[in-house]
Structure formats: C-alpha cells, structure tokens
C-alpha cells in the first residue's frame, strides 16, 4: 500500500458528528467553566498557602471552629423564636455578590438572567437570546425554612425559590416585587405576618 493510499483511507474516516446545538453552546460552556475555574483556583490558592504556613492554618482552623460553635448557638436561638432563618444581608455579602456579578456579566453580555448564591455555591442562569439588556440588576436575599440564598437578577426574570419559579419585577417607583405561585412580596410593603420567606431586595449599583 502506498502512503497516498493510506492517507486516502485515513481521510475517508470522519470523526462522529456532533449536533449543531453542541457547537452553538460550546464556546459558552468553555467561558463559563473558565470563569468558574478561576474562582475555584482562588480557593485552591488559599489552601495552598495554608499548607505552606501550618500555624496560620491552625489559627484559621480554631477561628473557624469558634465561628461554627457560635453559629450553631445563634441558629438554635433563632429556631426557638421563628421557623424562618432571618439573617439580614451583610455589606460583605452584598459586595461579594456585586463583585461576582461584575465579573460574570462581561462574559455573557445580554445573556445573564440571574446569579444564585446558595449553600451549594454559585449558579448561573443564562438565556440564549439577549433578554436582560437594558434593565438594572437587583440584589435579593431570600431566607426560608431551609436556609438563605442570594440572587442577582433583572426585572422581568424568573428565579427558582425553594423549587418554585418566581418572577422578579421592578415597578415604576423603584419598588422590587417578587411573585410566586403561592406568595407575593414587595419591597414597598415590607414583611407581612405569616409569610413563608423573609426577603430583602435592593438595586445593585454597579461601577461598570
């Protein structure tokens, strides 16, 4: 067999084809994973430093244990007074969400529907088409019986709260409204007795 004949046989064997949707979404997946990987590396860097400085790691460990104990005591105390975990958003939480949003929104211009921060980490909700463009981002902290989650989203978007799809809307006067199949909340009216969630909402003023 000549080299040219071998090449012909090799070239007539194409790799399996992937569907068009696979290629349409490929670059988005790469950029998303690259962005998430960067945050993961920051965590790894921290642990790497901790390995190099064992005393520092021990200090952090003791501090973390104290925080866990205090947190457990506060949580036990809260559970006696109310079944909903009420933890107002701290400035650190708000700033952290804002920083994360500012980094992610440049990766997916016009396609970012929401960023959800819950106990499992950060999750992005992306739309195929440009839907969020033009509206200002809003920050929400929602606490229920199962814990709290923070959300950065836009007026007109749907976000999952405890398994329910809820709409987030910003009214003419700037009040933020969250409506679900079984509840309704507005920043204008504040907390109402008997409600299932403790919600905080405010506009996310960005620097960009």
């Amino acid at each position: 067999m000549k080299n040219s004949e071998l090449d012909e046989i090799l070239r007539t064997a194409p790799p399996p084809k992937q569907p068009t949707e696979y290629w349409d979404e490929f670059s988005g997946r790469v950029l998303r994973n690259a962005a998430l990987g960067r945050h993961a590396r920051e965590v790894v860097d921290f642990h790497g430093r901790a390995r190099r400085f064992p005393k520092l790691a021990l200090g952090f460990g003791v501090a973390a244990a104290v925080v866990v104990v205090l947190f457990s005591v506060v949580r036990l105390d809260n559970s006696r007074s109310t079944s909903i975990m009420e933890r107002p958003a701290t400035q650190n939480e708000f700033d952290g969400a804002k920083k994360y949003y500012e980094e992610i929104v440049t990766l997916f211009p016009g396609r970012l529907a929401a960023i959800i921060f819950d106990k499992r980490g950060e999750h992005l909700l992306l739309k195929d088409t440009s839907t969020a463009a033009g509206s200002l981002p809003v920050y929400l902290k929602i606490c229920g019986r199962s814990g709290c989650e923070q959300v950065v989203t836009f007026s007109g978007q749907q976000i999952p709260i405890n398994g329910e799809l809820c709409d987030v809307l910003v009214g003419h006067s700037g009040e933020i409204i969250v409506t679900g199949p079984t509840f309704w909340w507005s920043s204008g009216t504040g907390a109402r007795p008997g409600e299932r969630y403790r919600i905080e909402a405010r506009p996310l003023q960005t620097t960009g």
Binding site: L6, A13, P15, P16, Q18, S27, G37
Partner: protein
C-alpha cells in the same frame, strides 16, 4: 509561519480581556481541536472533555502567548499535550470499548464501519505516533509545524510518521482489499 492580522487582532483583544474576541477564536477552532482530541483518544466523551479543557487552558495561559507562531499551532500544542497526558485508566478503557462497541452496533453503512476500523487502528499506535498522524494527515500540518506543536525535531516527526504508517498499512490492508474489490 505568521498569523493573519485579523487573528492577531482577536488574540490581542482577548489578552486585554475581550471575551467576545476569545469566543470568536473558540468558534473558529472548536471543531478542529475536537477532531484532534477524538483522533487521539478514540472516545467522543473524552474528546468533549479534552477539547473544552484545551480552550480553558488557552484562556488561562493567554497572557503568555506570543504571536510569533499561529494561534492554531499554540492550541494544537495544548491539545496534544493534554491528550498525551490522558491516561487509559480501567474505567476509561471500559468506556472506550463500550463506545466503540456501540458505534459498531449502530453502524448501518460500510463507511461507518470503515471509520471505526480506522479509529481502532489509530488507537493501537503509540500516543506520539498517533499525534504525528493526526497533525499531519488529518490537520494538514507540515512536518515543521507538527514538530513545533509536539516540541520535537522534524527528524523525530518523520521517524514517528514512518513507523506509524508501517503499522497502519499492516492493520488496514484488509480495508484496502475491500475497497479494491
């Protein structure tokens, strides 16, 4: 070998944080890198992972890319290195066998069967021989370009191609006879 002005511009914009520019580079090279990863691993699932990993790696290392070589050659180098480090663990081997068995089962035409035979033959080469064949025969790189991508001399590439071709000719002789008939 010089990159086009358009490509150089997009690379520079990507290095300055323009994600749309980097996305356009991904879109341009995604099929090429995926095909290379498939040739190297014989597994569509692993090719998916490795192709993604190639671009993620490129994204992280973009600041270190110098436009002396083509962006595509740089990507090839990343992809081939990732594929060469791809380890055939027991689970992966089983998955690959299952995938190949599935492909054979699904084969409805001789053409599809030929593809599987060719891929099986490629998988019996050493990874470095497979890389040399993938880059030259499939991706159309010259020996010099392939040598650059694989960080070795042109002579080494020529030798790997010679041994790879000899093995492939033995393994695929039946396929040729079938085609001649």
């Amino acid at each position: 070998m010089v990159a086009s002005d358009d490509e150089t511009g997009r690379v520079i914009r990507s290095q300055n944080g323009d994600h749309e520019a980097f996305e356009s580079l991904i879109k341009e090279y995604q099929i090429m890198i995926h095909s290379l990863c498939y040739r190297m691993t014989g597994s569509l699932t692993d090719a998916d992972d490795l192709a993604q990993e190639t671009f993620i790696c490129a994204y992280r290392e973009l600041a270190g890319f110098r436009a002396e070589a083509r962006f595509s050659s740089w990507l090839y180098r990343i992809a081939v290195n990732l594929c060469l480090n791809w380890r055939k663990s027991g689970a992966r081997r089983r998955r690959l066998q299952n995938e190949l068995a599935g492909q054979l089962f699904e084969a409805e035409s001789n053409e599809h069967c030929d593809s599987t035979q060719v891929q099986e033959a490629l998988m019996r080469l050493s990874p470095k021989e497979r890389a040399a064949i993938s880059l030259t025969t499939y991706e159309g790189l010259t020996h010099a370009e392939a040598a650059q991508a694989l960080s070795c001399s042109e002579t080494t590439i020529s030798w790997r191609l010679f041994t790879a071709r000899a093995k492939l000719k033995r393994m695929l002789k039946d396929l040729k006879r079938g085609k001649d008939r």
